[in-house]
Symmetry: C2
Subunit: 367 residues, 2 copies
DNA sequence: GACTCTGCCACAAACGTTTGCAAAGTGCCG
DNA sequence: CGGCACTTTGCAAACGTTTGTGGCAGAGTC
């Protein structure tokens, strides 16, 4: 029923091979016959059968993407970037939601591998070995995950943390809390690493809590812990947690940013529209998706811009209304059950000492 | 390089056709040889080449989905449902973001059509004619769009509106505002229709504003207009607009829900976590995605549960903290620039009279 | 005028799978 | 023991495309 290359050939009075060449390697056919073929193809509405083509060429014209959680706006941003760049390069995209299960993720990539020319994987929980084994199946590009020999698009989380620390330090904050996301998430380790380095350089004390579920509820839970410690600023693993923190602080009657500064990470839509608007680090989600596809395609057909195997994208601190100058210690009248704010200023423990969370301070969730 | 059916055949000492049959129509081969073939396939890690298969069978094992905007959490919810049900049925899914452009949407479906067995399309802006023409290319299922002869999964927006009206009426509200989403969006027309019917039955007056951009900013813009009219409750086209309304009302010093009730539509994540938590109608996004795939598959291979061509999913009003009993007229001290609240109670105009927005009240955006 | 060279085109093989058909084997009945 | 039905298997064609090879014509060269 659908029109094949032979129908076009017949109409244009040429052989099928000429049609094929006229549609691709055009310099091998005479100009006039090429016109004739193109006209015939247009009139018949010819669309090549991708299955037949990929059978002979070994290429599919598709790429895949697997994400851990479609509910997370971060990944839908990535998805957007991936899709837009892929379409621009003439590729269609398969997608799959691993539902935060590394074995499901692996199975999905495995299933896709025969139908795609490559896949970009966002797999914060998968093991290095798993990823390497998948790289043997089809060409891979990672997102926010650094692994030797496998190309990756990375977002400069550490740089974002540095900007946060500089910002808070300039506002006079000397002691901050960091609310960890999942310990096995690559990006949490990366953000923590960047924070520790920046804090140590800025001589800022950092108290760590968690790990927590990287969601609103996790932030609610974490807020009380941070409040009890006497910090003047809270840095959350991501925006969802930061929103939870804001909600809990409001319930407890702690004014943000006057009494407590709060910073998130990701710059989701809702960071801009919540009250008060959240200071956060913008992650280049769409750009990350685009870059990942660029890397993938350059590995496949040299179409990409052929930069190195790893590309790091800049992040930017967006200062909104949840950060302000650190409050003086005495000005906290109505937080009832707080601990005495012992030695929280310059006289407190050094950053290095506080980095390792003690049993009491850390471990809000079983690890 | 990859292992083919012939490799398996050789190892199992049978012909390729026997391997093929052993892997599918198992009753045609003897039990013992089937075992042998299966073992050989397992040992070699054989994965059939989908291109070759689809070339001969004419089926691809893929479905597609096109959505108008990946940034909208509503559609990512649908996406999740689609993907999960598709995987369960052994299908992989292509996706494409039409970026709210009907012609792009059409082009995407057209491009996909050769690689998929069917596609579910969420195309609130496409014309009926466009959709019908696409239905000729491949089998289609619509989401939230009713069109004769084309199967569709529908969410009962009208029912949701009825629940809103009943809820508000029970709280004593007699005059409400509706903030229209885009006029050419099917779901806005549907919600408005449901609202008008329910309001007329409940003898509630409805003043309409808009259309507005169905985003936060649209809500901000709309809030002032509704406030000026003297309504006691605002029903927004969707949650994003409702959040904008909340933000603007807070800025204007209008207490929610004491002085104004606000209702959204969709039940996005953020409706639950904003302050105060938003009363809204839960749309069954994932269930809708699942249902759409069910319908699609039953059209393709009889795999679905074979219900009728249209399936309507129930919606539920989630009452949270933005709705309360209507304020009495005198208790509005600090809204400065409001109009005199003339005749807004039972003595006011009938519902039918107010339904057609007059020039002065409507048209906040050029149409 | 015979040779080579070049431009253009058709023929046919190949990709990996499914499937109709025939052949071979087996068991049963008359 | 021949014929028949039935089961099990292999052969080969087909799906629609790309691409290597070869042929044919015309032009150029000696």
């Amino acid at each position: 029923m659908p029109v094949t290359i032979h129908d076009v050939a017949q109409r244009a009075q040429v052989s099928a091979s000429t049609v094929s060449r006229a549609l691709s390697a055009s310099h091998l056919v005479r100009g006039t016959t090429r016109e004739r073929v193109l006209a015939a193809a247009r009139e018949l509405g010819y669309q090549p059968n991708p299955a037949a083509r990929s059978l002979i060429t070994g290429r599919t014209g598709n790429i895949g993407i697997v994400v851990p959680d479609l509910n997370n706006p971060f990944y839908t941003g990535v998805l957007r970037g991936v899709q837009s760049r892929a379409r621009q390069g003439g590729y269609a995209v398969f997608f799959a939601d691993g539902e935060e299960d590394p074995v499901a993720e692996e199975a999905l990539v495995r299933a896709m591998s025969r139908q795609v020319d490559g896949v970009v994987v966002c797999a914060p929980f998968a093991s290095d070995a798993q990823l390497r084994s998948l790289a043997g199946l089809t060409s891979l590009t990672l997102l926010n995950r650094r692994l030797r020999d496998i190309p990756a698009a990375l977002m400069d989380s550490a740089g974002g943390m540095r900007q946060i620390v500089d910002h808070l330090a300039a506002l006079g904050h000397r002691r901050c809390a960091y609310l960890n996301g999942p310990n096995n998430a690559w990006s949490n380790r990366e953000r923590r690493r960047g924070l520790r380095a920046a804090a140590s350089r800025a001589r800022m004390a950092v108290v760590e809590f968690g790990p927590f579920e990287p969601k609103f509820e996790g932030g609610v839970q974490a807020a009380d812990l941070a409040l009890a410690d006497g910090v003047t600023a809270i840095i959350a693993y991501n925006d969802l947690m930061a929103l939870g923190v804001l909600s809990r602080l409001a319930d407890r009657g702690v004014a943000v940013p006057q009494e407590m500064s709060v910073v998130g990470f990701d710059n989701l839509l809702y960071a801009a529209v919540c009250a008060p608007p959240l200071t956060t680090v913008a992650m280049p989600m769409e750009a990350g998706g685009r870059a990942a596809v660029d890397l993938l395609l350059s590995g496949i057909d040299g179409t990409g811009d052929g930069a190195g195997p790893h590309r790091e994208l800049p992040t930017n601190l967006i200062v909104r209304a949840t950060t302000a100058a650190a409050r003086s210690r005495s000005a906290r009248p109505h937080v009832d059950n707080r601990r005495p704010a012992a030695g929280h200023a310059a006289s407190g423990p050094t950053a290095a000492a506080v980095h390792r969370p003690s049993g009491g301070r850390s471990a809000a969730l079983p690890e």
